[in-house]
């Protein structure tokens, strides 16, 4: 591989790593939540803060990168590496969120520098866009799975530690001579950016909500959850061949948005608890990403972009969408979790009271469940071990097993139903993207 190709691969790679950071900690959030005894809303700021700062900082960073792309990129990597280390050793949730803000500042510089360097290497921003677009898509889609893998095998801190040597090693790469692109910026059409923001909000819903459902609702390990949510990038990769064959005309983008909205709506209407029910919706969402995002990105970057501002605006739109998704959906999820916790408590109590068991067995079981529920601190409890703690009478073994099955099912129903409204809202955000896509003329 030539030195030039190594450099372009490094720039695209570092951009992918930074964009992966917007979602890489998703599967680590339950562990972070437990370690710092935080709330769902509080821990969501580990994601929100990064994406918000990145969305705000990317445009000023693009201006800086226009004059000194290599320095901006390298400086960004150093800041990114240092703040990643700070994230790994953060002693509190507040410190972690603060370090994530600094990490996003460094990340914005890395992205802006990498986009500018790639544009100069390929001759124009339009020519470079497919490279960084693919790297960004891969980072965003693979981030949760990689984060889950590291969290399960090592710890959530390892997600940040492994980024340090990667970022520092990349600094050593060389940059080509600057080749400024002539001409002026084309008139900016905001519709593709708005659609990108809304679809990113929906995609965030798909990843963030699905991960929390799997780990906190259905009590899967991060590794198991990573395996389940990897269906989205797998479907995206598979559908990319379809997208290449069909092109990126408006009907294909519309089809992508419809697939994403439909997949999210289906996740909001799951008829059972278990990862199998999420696979078909994930396939639809993954296919929707492949069909909609490349076409929207190329529309957002259409026309001349000598200063790389449209590229930066596209990145900003995506991350603003991610912030919109998290900020809009997390409070709804939090209130739904509380409501379903209460609903499960009442329905479980009702089943226990009406069970054909000896009163003494019921009291013992009620006490054991009470201890488990209290130890979960407001989260939906895992009742799988509770029934082993009480010895039922010989004559009531069958009724005892029936009650166990019914109570576990009630908790599963509550855990699943808590996510219904947030998923449906995420689907509505994705469906809203059809408005800017369909408005106006053109193919």
């Amino acid at each position: 591989m030539s030195a030039g190709r190594i450099s372009t691969a490094l720039w695209a790679g570092t951009l992918g790593v930074v964009l992966a950071d917007s979602s890489v900690v998703t599967l680590a959030l339950p562990d972070v939540l437990r370690q710092f005894d935080a709330t769902v809303v509080g821990v969501s700021w580990v994601l929100t803060a990064f994406n918000l700062v990145l969305a705000v900082a990317i445009l000023p960073a693009a201006r800086l990168a226009q004059d000194r792309p290599s320095m901006t990129w390298a400086l960004g990597l150093v800041v990114f590496a240092a703040s990643s280390l700070a994230c790994a050793v953060a002693p509190s949730i507040a410190t972690l969120i603060a370090a994530r803000c600094v990490q996003a500042l460094g990340g914005a510089a890395v992205i802006a520098g990498a986009i500018e360097l790639l544009a100069r290497a390929y001759g124009s921003h339009a020519a470079a866009a497919p490279r960084w677009g693919a790297a960004g898509l891969a980072g965003l889609a693979l981030g949760p799975a990689l984060g889950g893998l590291l969290t399960d095998l090592l710890s959530w801190q390892s997600i940040f530690v492994v980024q340090v040597p990667v970022a520092l090693a990349a600094v050593a790469s060389r940059s080509p001579a600057d080749v400024p692109e002539p001409g002026r910026n084309a008139r900016i059409d905001p519709r593709p950016e708005i659609a990108l923001a809304l679809l990113s909000a929906g995609l965030t819903g798909a990843l963030f909500l699905l991960v929390v459902l799997l780990t906190e609702g259905w009590l899967f390990s991060p590794l198991e959850a990573a395996a389940v949510v990897s269906m989205i990038p797998v479907a995206t990769l598979a559908a990319r061949t379809l997208e290449r064959r069909l092109g990126d005309d408006r009907p294909v983008i519309v089809a992508g948005a419809v697939c994403m909205a439909g997949g999210l709506a289906a996740l909001g209407l799951l008829p059972g608890a278990g990862p199998g029910w999420t696979l078909a919706p994930q396939v639809l969402i993954g296919a929707g990403i492949a069909l909609a995002l490349p076409g929207l990105t190329s529309r957002a970057l259409a026309g001349r972009d000598p200063e790389g501002r449209r590229a930066a605006a596209t990145i900003a739109a995506r991350h603003a969408g991610i912030v919109l998704g998290i900020v809009a959906l997390t409070p709804v999820l939090s209130s739904q979790l509380d409501a379903q916790h209460d609903a499960a408590r009442l329905s479980g109590t009702s089943l226990l009271l009406d069970a054909p068991l000896d009163p003494d067995t019921k009291v013992q079981l009620g006490d054991a469940i009470g201890v488990t529920v209290a130890s979960e601190g407001g989260r939906l409890p895992d009742l799988s071990g509770v029934f082993d703690e009480v010895e039922p009478l010989a004559a009531e073994t069958a009724a005892y097993a029936t009650l166990e099955h019914a109570l576990v099912a009630e908790v599963d129903k509550a855990a699943t139903h808590a996510f219904s409204l947030p998923f449906l809202l995420a689907g509505a955000l994705a469906a809203l993207a059809l408005l800017p896509i369909c408005l106006g003329r053109g193919p």
Partner: protein, 165 residues
């Protein structure tokens, strides 16, 4: 497939999946709604006398829950755990007295119903009414809930002795 037909294909796929999940019960996959405490519950004939005290306690809870307009299951925690009593009172904006009165009225109604159904004798009816009048209602229901029928008369005696003591 041509690019123009992809929206139709996508809409068909999305609608099929959503329709399938709805048909399989996706819209109703949620925890069971608890029964209305004011609505009569199906009454099965007592298989053993052991079931009597529990039935009395649950019937008393239904009566109290009905008058307070709360789920019976909420009151179980109030009766079983005094620590939850304060949060219940604050959450439902009722007074201590109103809660006690509702529990007492529920217990009296349950005892009367049990006598009418022939589940208890008139002597047991008198003794249990005495219990309802003189022992804190939450305590009385809690004892009934956990007791077997063989124990109940002894427990009632003990409680009355404690109150008098």
């Amino acid at each position: 497939m041509s690019a123009r037909r992809t929206p139709v294909a996508a809409a068909a796929a999305a609608a099929s999946l959503v329709g399938l999940y709805l048909a399989l019960g996706g819209a109703t996959y949620q925890p069971l709604e608890v029964a209305d405490p004011c609505a009569p519950r199906p009454v099965e004939e007592l298989q053993q006398r052991d079931e009597l005290t529990e039935r009395l306690a649950l019937s008393a809870l239904d009566g109290a829950a009905c008058s307070l307009q709360v789920p019976r299951e909420d009151l179980v925690f109030v009766v079983a755990d005094p620590a939850q009593r304060e949060s219940f009172i604050a959450e439902h904006a009722i007074s201590e007295e109103a809660l006690d009165e509702a529990l007492r009225a529920g217990l009296v109604r349950a005892v009367d119903d049990a006598e009418r159904a022939g589940d208890i004798s008139s002597f047991e009816h008198t003794l249990l009414l005495e219990l309802a009048e003189r022992v804190p209602a939450a305590e009385a229901i809690d004892v009934l809930e956990a007791a077997t029928d063989d124990e109940v008369l002894g427990l009632v005696d003990d409680l009355l002795d404690q109150v008098e003591g």
